[in-house]
């Protein structure tokens, strides 16, 4: 095997501060999922098999993004860093949110802890609680969208980006804010619990997703066509496979621009398909509602 490929494949970093939360979250979710499945009256109720798969795949992808050669190479190849960010911002959060993790994580705790956690949560999310009102305001869809866009664009500032590549704590902070902002954003799209906001209408849901495309697309285009290396850190790196720093940057920008934007478009298509499916499921209107003389007239004609 080529020694460079071999070195890359061996470049895993088993970071205990990432591994332990992932394993704990995976186990707690499974225990809660199993308990709720055994309690459920319907075999395919809340504790669906696909929820478990969705959550576990989400956690596995976090591990892949933060522990595998993807993370190790992120400091060397900008396009690899972009793939890592896409995983943390566009793939993992929707997968975790689709699983609706809150009830499963609560039920996965030991009984005494669950009761305390449940009580604390109900205190915070109680209808009359002022904390709930504050939370509703600071996590409203508009605020979530602004935070999401601000975080994505803000971290691409050359000074911040270079600082993240230079300092491990800043790098971790970058990933945490990316992930946190994305979880907040996708929470509104998916509608997972806790539900403290008004439910989105289908149209609003679609518009909310579409509204995230232009900032992402424009940032990707700006990076792809910059013409000179924006992040000086990559100039000091040994180049792999003959990809120089400017080609690497163009590739990273294109990844953000095309597959990054495609992710939103796929979500819009899924939402639209679900919307149409819902329309099909509605019972047909009785003939008395529509088969009247007035309604049968051609549009624009008045029956006299």
């Amino acid at each position: 095997m080529d020694p460079v490929i071999r070195a890359i494949l061996l470049s895993w970093e088993w970071r205990i501060e990432v591994l332990i939360p992932l394993v704990v979250a995976g186990v707690v979710f499974f225990v809660g999922w199993r308990r709720l499945r055994l309690k459920g009256r319907r075999p395919h109720g809340l504790a669906n098999g696909w929820r478990l798969v969705s959550y576990w795949v989400g956690l596995l992808l976090i591990g892949l993004a933060l522990l595998s050669p993807i993370d190790v190479l992120a400091g060397q190849l900008f396009f690899m860093h972009m793939i890592q960010h896409l995983l943390l911002v566009m793939i993992v959060p929707p997968l975790l949110m689709l699983a609706n993790p809150m009830p499963f994580l609560l039920w996965g705790l030991p009984d005494a802890v669950r009761h305390k956690a449940g009580a604390a949560l109900s205190n915070v999310l109680h209808r009359k609680s002022s904390t709930r009102k504050t939370l509703r305001t600071i996590t409203s869809p508009g605020v979530a969208w602004i935070i999401f866009v601000f975080v994505i664009i803000g971290w691409h500032d050359p000074n911040l980006y270079n600082a993240a590549l230079r300092n491990a704590v800043v790098h971790d902070l970058e990933h945490l804010t990316f992930f946190g902002a994305a979880m907040l954003y996708w929470w509104h799209v998916v509608g997972a619990g806790p539900r403290i906001h008004k439910r989105f209408s289908r149209t609003a849901q679609v518009m909310y997703v579409i509204a995230a495309i232009p900032p992402n697309m424009l940032t990707g285009i700006a990076i792809a066509f910059a013409g000179q290396v924006i992040y000086s850190h990559y100039l000091s790196m040994p180049r792999l496979w003959g990809i120089d720093a400017i080609d690497d940057q163009t590739l990273a920008g294109v990844i953000m621009w095309v597959p990054g934007s495609m992710m939103y478009i796929v979500v819009v298509l899924i939402l639209t398909a679900r919307w149409l499916e819902g329309e099909e499921r509605k019972p047909p209107l009785p003939a008395s509602k529509w088969a009247t003389d007035e309604r049968m007239a051609a549009p624009g004609l008045k029956r006299r």
């Binding site: 460079v4 070195a7 400091g75 030991p110 100039l235 000091s236």
Partner: protein, 173 residues
């Protein structure tokens, strides 16, 4: 349960990974060392009395106008030597290897600096293409008495505590 939570918090706050993850302060970028180009990063930033983590990229010389490094050189023998510029302490050295590095395309070494002051860092590379040497000066500050990460963590815990207190109070209001 409280003990378990405390243990988890401590593990999460472990700064150990900080030395292995992320580049550190660039000390040399694409400097010539015989038939190789060498880039060196050190952490913590700034360097202080105590542990010093050194990351090195050894590459084939670059071509073209951009002067970017060529492909990485693997399996070379790399030695890092620190010598105090004013004397008083013996030189310290350690091998830098691909195996020690999370990124196996890099070389890493861990040393312990016994004293603050000006030090010379010498990098010796011996590989299939021949051998080379590069050096740079490193200003080392006295050891830090407080840990910024720990203080940040403490501030976060206090903030979370205030939030919880506020949340619990709001129910009674």
């Amino acid at each position: 349960m409280k003990r378990l939570m405390l243990l988890l918090l401590l593990i999460t706050a472990l700064p150990a990974s900080a030395s292995a993850h992320g580049g550190g302060a660039p000390q040399m970028v694409n400097e010539s060392a015989g038939p190789y180009w060498v880039s060196v990063w050190t952490s913590p930033e700034p360097a202080r009395e105590g542990p010093l983590h050194v990351s090195l990229a050894i590459a084939q010389p670059g071509q073209g106008q951009e002067q970017q490094a060529g492909p990485p050189v693997l399996g070379a023998s790399v030695q890092v030597t620190l010598t105090p510029r004013s004397g008083g302490f013996a030189a310290i050295n350690a091998p830098a290897t691909n195996e020690q590095s999370a990124n196996k395309l890099f070389y890493e070494a861990d040393l312990s600096i016994p004293s603050a002051g000006d030090w010379t860092v010498e990098i010796d590379v011996d590989g299939a293409e021949g051998s080379g040497q590069a050096r740079f000066n490193l200003a080392v500050r006295p050891a830090q008495s407080s840990n910024g990460l720990l203080l940040g963590g403490l501030a976060f815990v206090l903030l979370a505590g205030f939030f919880l207190f506020y949340a619990l109070r709001s129910r009674h209001d």
